[in-house]
């Protein structure tokens, strides 16, 4: 019996190894950001207590997007690691075009995370937030939004038909579900039956729902298989 055969077969499966790597990366990012926020709060540099549920939810989503975007970006810098981490079933090095496509995907996710985190962070670090600083953060968000929109459009152009199908279905399902939920909540609010939501609350719910729907549609269509 060889040493390798003593280990369970799934350990040599590239998909399992990629999942294990992502799990470890998730743990490190989660622990790292949690302890950093804790230290900043103890030092009085950041206010976490008193943040609303939508601030916490969007902060969590932003952290996930930043971590995922950074991982994809770093993995795509090497053609050797790009496909081994991002498409473990492929079993060969990424072409320059594939590596650049992944790099762009990572960048778009990273920018989305930064844009989502910026308003929450600005309000947590500066209480009250000065008008000039708020305006400067807003100008930065608008600039990033423009860059990210162009990045998303180019990604659409560069994607093959399966990815486009997943994007289209995610958009359609999200719109159908969220416009219904928005209407029902607004009606309940108008009738004094439900508490008022802020636009930031709605954005946090929209982002969380969109990511969840996107994951479900991707799995259903076999993207990531």
């Amino acid at each position: 019996m060889t040493v390798a055969s003593k280990f369970p077969k799934f350990l040599s499966n590239p998909k399992f190894r990629a999942m294990a790597l992502l799990t470890v990366a998730g743990g490190i990012v989660g622990y790292g950001s949690g302890s950093l926020i804790g230290k900043l709060e103890k030092a009085g540099a950041m206010r976490v207590e008193g943040l609303g549920w939508s601030d916490l939810l969007s902060g969590l989503i932003a952290m996930m997007l930043i971590a995922m975007g950074t991982l994809v970006l770093v993995a795509s810098l090497s053609r050797k690691t790009a496909l081994r981490v991002l498409d473990p079933g492929n079993g060969r090095d990424a072409t320059p075009a594939q590596a650049s496509y992944y790099r762009q995907q990572g960048l778009v996710a990273l920018l989305a995370g930064v844009m989502l985190a910026a308003p929450v962070l600005a309000n947590s670090v500066f209480d009250p937030l000065p008008f000039e600083l708020g305006a400067a953060v807003m100008a930065g968000i608008v600039a990033l939004f423009l860059v990210q929109t162009v990045g998303n459009l180019i990604l659409w152009q560069r994607s093959d038909e399966l990815v486009r199908q997943v994007m289209s279905e995610t958009g359609a399902v999200s719109f159908w579900l969220l416009q219904g939920a928005l209407f029902l909540w607004a009606a309940g609010e108008k009738l004094n039956l439900l508490p008022a939501l802020s636009l930031w609350d709605a954005v946090a719910v929209l982002m969380a729902s969109y990511l969840l729907i996107s994951t479900l549609v991707s799995a259903r269509r076999g993207l990531g298989g």
């Binding site: 498409d87 079933g89 093959d160 399966l162 990815v163 269509r221 076999g222 993207l223």
Partner: protein, 64 residues
């Protein structure tokens, strides 16, 4: 919709990545087609048919 993509690919000893390169799509698209999770667009179906030198209906069969 059922298809014979996996069989046709295996007959030529091509990997999913090889077929993906020839069709200019991602390997994941080939996997999704072979597992029946995704049906190709008409242009991609024609491309597949041309690549294997067969008609669309011999590669793809309607399950109804």
């Amino acid at each position: 919709m059922k298809n014979r993509l996996k069989v046709l690919r295996a007959e030529r000893d091509w990997s999913q990545a090889d077929l993906a390169d020839r069709l200019e799509v991602s390997r994941q698209t080939i996997n999704a087609l072979e597992t029946g999770k995704y049906d190709p667009s008409l242009p991609l179906a024609f491309k597949i048919a041309r690549l294997f030198g067969q008609s669309i209906e011999t590669i793809f069969q309607d399950e109804a």
